[in-house]
Amino acid sequence: MRNKEILKKSFDKITMPQYLEKNILNMVENKSNKKSIFIKFSTVTAVIAIILTMGITGVFAHSFGLFDFLLANKDVTPEQQELVQQTNLEAIVEGVTFKSREFLFDGNNLYIRVEVKSKENKFVAGDDEVSMINPEKYKAIGVGLLGGEIVHNRADWNYEDDGTLIYIIKAETKSLDGIKIRFAVNDIDEKGNRKSGVAKKGEKSSVQFTELSLVK
């Protein structure tokens, strides 16, 4: 009986957050399938080297495209394929190359595909993975959308056979104006956690990142 009580007492503290409750009721009210997952972005403390190219390209090659992902996850219909736009965003941070060649915007949701590769560093995406590896040999990757009207966004990722990390970032926004994409690389501490981005005076921050405008 005592075990049941201590477990119940602990579990009772977990309750549905109000934002989620509101979101579900709104969805049901509108009979919409809109989903949202939440990230709050705030300021990061250090910035480093940027390689930026921006323009339009007609050619992009990859084994698993943005539309494939969205279709598989039932986020879009085949008719919406025409909404995929091409872009050319590229940055190198701490020897890790981030490339984005396509995004989709339907007036409510923005999806962007990002490829991450590195010859110099080994890297991992998620904190669960970070905790399982030798921290000295790896960097932790972070990719997110911010600025403009974005409040929340989420990341899905997968590794291709050659080790390329593919991200699909989704953000809820009504406009593309002012939206940036952030590419970040964190050091990992000896316990397998991402190191804090806050550096002491004179020291290099353990998180390096760059932000590129999605559209000019």
Partner: protein, 159 residues
């Protein structure tokens, strides 16, 4: 809005959220899955006889949604770009019992939750999880042993 949906939602929202949170371990997947579960409720509400039936149906749907999420090759998470980003600050960091449960493998977490919180019998857990009852008993026993090791004197050994 449909008053029957609202009644069921209000009576089950915390339990379903908690169940999915325990299964998935993070709030981001949890949010997504819980939304799907209630959208399914909305679509199927008139097939459910009463509130008890609805809750059991919701638990089964929630568990299936969690399993489907794990089957996907794609990992869905939010990645904080530094420690000033995201991550809910809550009681969780200080709650030893919660931490102990969440440190268990997924199969143990769920049986612990269903047995102790939802007060399901082992046969009901077996039916919900599509397992043999003997396996559920074994998982429950191993989960208890692990919790005892972690929680030491806070865990009642008499059970």
């Amino acid at each position: 809005m449909d008053s029957r949906f609202l009644d069921i939602f209000n009576n089950t929202k915390h339990d379903i959220y908690r169940l999915v949170r325990i299964y998935m371990r993070n709030s981001y997947d949890t949010d997504d899955i819980v939304q799907n579960v209630y959208l399914k409720l909305h679509k199927n509400i008139y097939n459910l006889n009463d509130d008890d039936h609805a809750k059991r149906w919701l638990i089964r749907v929630a568990i299936n949604e969690c399993k489907n999420q794990f089957l996907s090759n794609w990992v869905r998470r939010v990645i904080p770009l530094d420690e000033t980003l995201v991550n809910e600050v809550s009681f969780e960091a200080d709650d030893k019992v919660w931490q102990a449960v969440m440190s268990l493998p997924q199969k143990y977490r769920i049986v612990i939750y269903l047995f102790y919180y939802e007060e399901y019998s082992t046969s009901e857990i077996a039916e919900t999880l599509k397992l043999k009852e003997a396996n559920v008993r074994k998982q429950l026993q191993r989960a208890r042993e692990r919790l005892k090791t972690i929680l030491k004197e806070a865990w009642d050994n008499e059970e």
